[in-house]
């Protein structure tokens, strides 16, 4: 019975969220799109980092690949935009699969460094690649006509899919394998877990979501530049969102993303100080609540939630 009524609330929540663009103003819609995109990417990043022990500092690879693929396919090859988004997702997943071979053989901090370096190499390649505009960037003119009332939905869908993916993954056989790898990779391997296949599957799924986030982001922002499309600041932001809220929980990034987007807008007015202020607040949160905001709330209210909530 408890389960049933829980689903009812989820349905109500989704109904409110899907109808939101019909009655909220333009600015809030913009903020919500950012909120959903960061949420979607941070959910999978947090799951990978906390449960599977895969701490990637290179997820910007997929933001950039998603953005560039979507823009190039629909502008230069005349492929419909929605199809370009889907193809970019598949391409991102494929790239993640390829990168798994060299990168996932590295562990812990070496994997993190490896992913970051891979992102730098790809950024340099795009900076010199005239076809995609090289260092001048790429303007995605075809996306000018797409209003935020439309972009809102793929962003919302990505966030919902990401949350469900994390939930299902956690409770799946693969999730068990990943959690054992995150805890002790050697022992897991000794118990029959094919650690490479498990980690690669997780990395590919997370990167698929991240690529789609990059694709939707470029339709929203209509401009690509190698230094920002492949910037480490993407992954740092996902990390912040996950960590502020509570890394490895599902609710945590929801709170984290809301705070992150709100901070971004609030502090942009304090000219020149915004970076500093944001950094200080995040630092303060992390010192006061090292487990993240959500973990603190759920402990205070004694919710006794079952992971990964």
């Amino acid at each position: 019975m408890e389960l049933k009524s829980r689903y009812i609330y989820i349905v109500i929540l989704l109904a409110v969220l899907t109808s939101l663009p019909l009655w909220v103003g333009g600015f809030l819609r913009d903020a919500l799109i950012l909120f959903f995109l960061y949420l979607a990417a941070a959910e999978v990043w947090g799951f990978m980092a906390k449960h599977a022990g895969i701490v990637s500092l290179g997820q910007q690879i997929f933001i950039g690949v998603g953005g560039y693929t979507t823009a190039v396919l629909s502008m230069y090859f005349g492929i419909p935009m929605y199809a370009s988004v889907i193809i970019s997702g598949l391409l991102g997943a494929g790239l993640a699969g390829l990168l798994s071979f060299p990168l996932l053989r590295l562990r812990g901090v070496y994997f993190a460094i490896g992913t970051f370096l891979a992102a730098e190499v790809i950024r340099l390649a795009f900076s010199g690649w005239e076809f995609v505009g090289a260092g001048k960037g790429l303007i995605f003119r075809d996306a000018y006509g797409i209003p935020t009332t439309i972009i809102y939905y793929p962003a919302l869908a990505l966030a919902v899919i990401s949350i469900f993916l994390v939930y299902l993954l956690y409770h799946s056989k693969l999730g068990f394998g990943l959690r054992s790898i995150g805890a002790d990779e050697d022992v897991a391997c000794g118990l029959g877990v094919n650690t490479f296949v498990c980690k690669a599957t997780c990395f590919i799924l997370a990167s698929l979501i991240t690529t789609l986030v990059g694709a939707v982001n470029v339709i929203h922002h209509t401009y690509l530049h190698p230094t920002s499309a492949f910037s480490i600041s993407w992954t740092v932001n996902f990390l912040f969102v996950a960590v502020i809220g509570g890394v490895g929980t599902i609710v945590g990034p929801i709170i984290g993303s809301a705070l992150f987007v709100a901070f971004g807008y609030l502090f942009a007015q304090y000219l020149g100080l915004s970076l500093l202020l944001e950094g200080l607040i995040v630092l303060a949160i992390l010192i006061a609540l090292p487990q993240g905001v959500w973990s603190a709330i759920s402990r205070k209210l004694k919710l006794n939630l079952k992971p990964p909530l």
Binding site: G177, D184, D186, G192, N194
Partner: protein, 244 residues
């Protein structure tokens, strides 16, 4: 008797140190074999070679007539070799039941539902079923030892490698654990290869004992024969009490 494990001329070097030197032996199905030797004699290295964690420098490991040396650990586990660790290495954040389920899910390749009931059986067998929902980091040493055994059993092994399962246990627990090891063989038909530092703990349970010293096999035979061997006594000189 059917051959379970055959080790032929196995050698492993770490730099200048030869941790395992040209070791050969055989273990038959449903045997319980003890592996003893002073500290640093290469016992755990030998386990790591059999379970696939290390690759041998020379020699080979045959498991039920198939060569397994060089295969990755997870494949060897699926073929039927499970192990425990001298210092238990449970997945600390996961519950006791979940720990055991990993073995059932992957080692025995079971579905989620099947693995849950199978894992519960294993926990019952080692007497940990009351703690199934406790996070593994809340267990004490002896419980962790039992968890390791349950987790290894859940992979449905044909050969179980136990690395000092009795260390850290009190006398009462030692007696229970010895009984448990015997039952693993008698009830499940699992062959057991058992590292023990305290030689007397093996008495009355093992069929045979293999003795390592400085990476070399110095004796093999029944407990009585080995424990009175002058070579073995010499190797243990200074820590004579452990022979018992």
């Amino acid at each position: 008797m059917i051959g379970m494990l055959e080790v032929i001329g196995l050698t492993k070097r770490f730099g200048a140190l030869t941790a395992v030197k040209n070791v050969s032996f055989k273990i038959s199905e449903k045997e319980i074999v003890g592996l003893i030797g002073p500290n640093g004699s290469g016992k755990t290295t030998l386990f790591n070679l059999i379970s696939g964690f290390y690759k041998p420098d020379s020699g080979k490991v045959m498991f039920r007539d198939h060569e397994i040396s060089g295969l990755p650990q997870h494949k060897i586990c699926k073929m039927g070799i499970a192990r425990t660790y001298q210092i238990p290495r449970p997945f600390l954040e996961m519950s006791v039941l979940e720990n055991v389920m990993i073995g059932a899910l992957y080692g025995a390749d079971e579905s989620l539902g099947k693995s849950r009931s199978h894992a519960l059986e294993c926990l019952k067998f080692v007497g940990l079923e009351k703690k199934k929902d406790v996070p593994a980091h809340n267990l004490n040493v002896s419980e962790r030892k039992m968890l390791e055994i349950a987790r290894a059993l859940a992979t449905k092994p044909k050969l179980l490698l136990l690395d000092e399962p009795l260390s850290g246990l009190n006398p009462k627990e030692v007696a229970q654990a010895r009984e448990l090891i015997r039952r693993i063989r008698d009830d499940f038909g699992v062959t057991v290869f058992w590292i023990e530092h305290i030689m007397r703990a093996l008495r009355g349970v093992v069929e045979r004992v293999i003795v390592l010293n400085y990476g070399e096999k110095i004796a093999e035979g029944s407990f009585e024969v080995v424990s009175s061997s002058s070579k073995v006594i010499e190797a243990y000189l200074g820590e004579k009490w452990v022979i018992g």
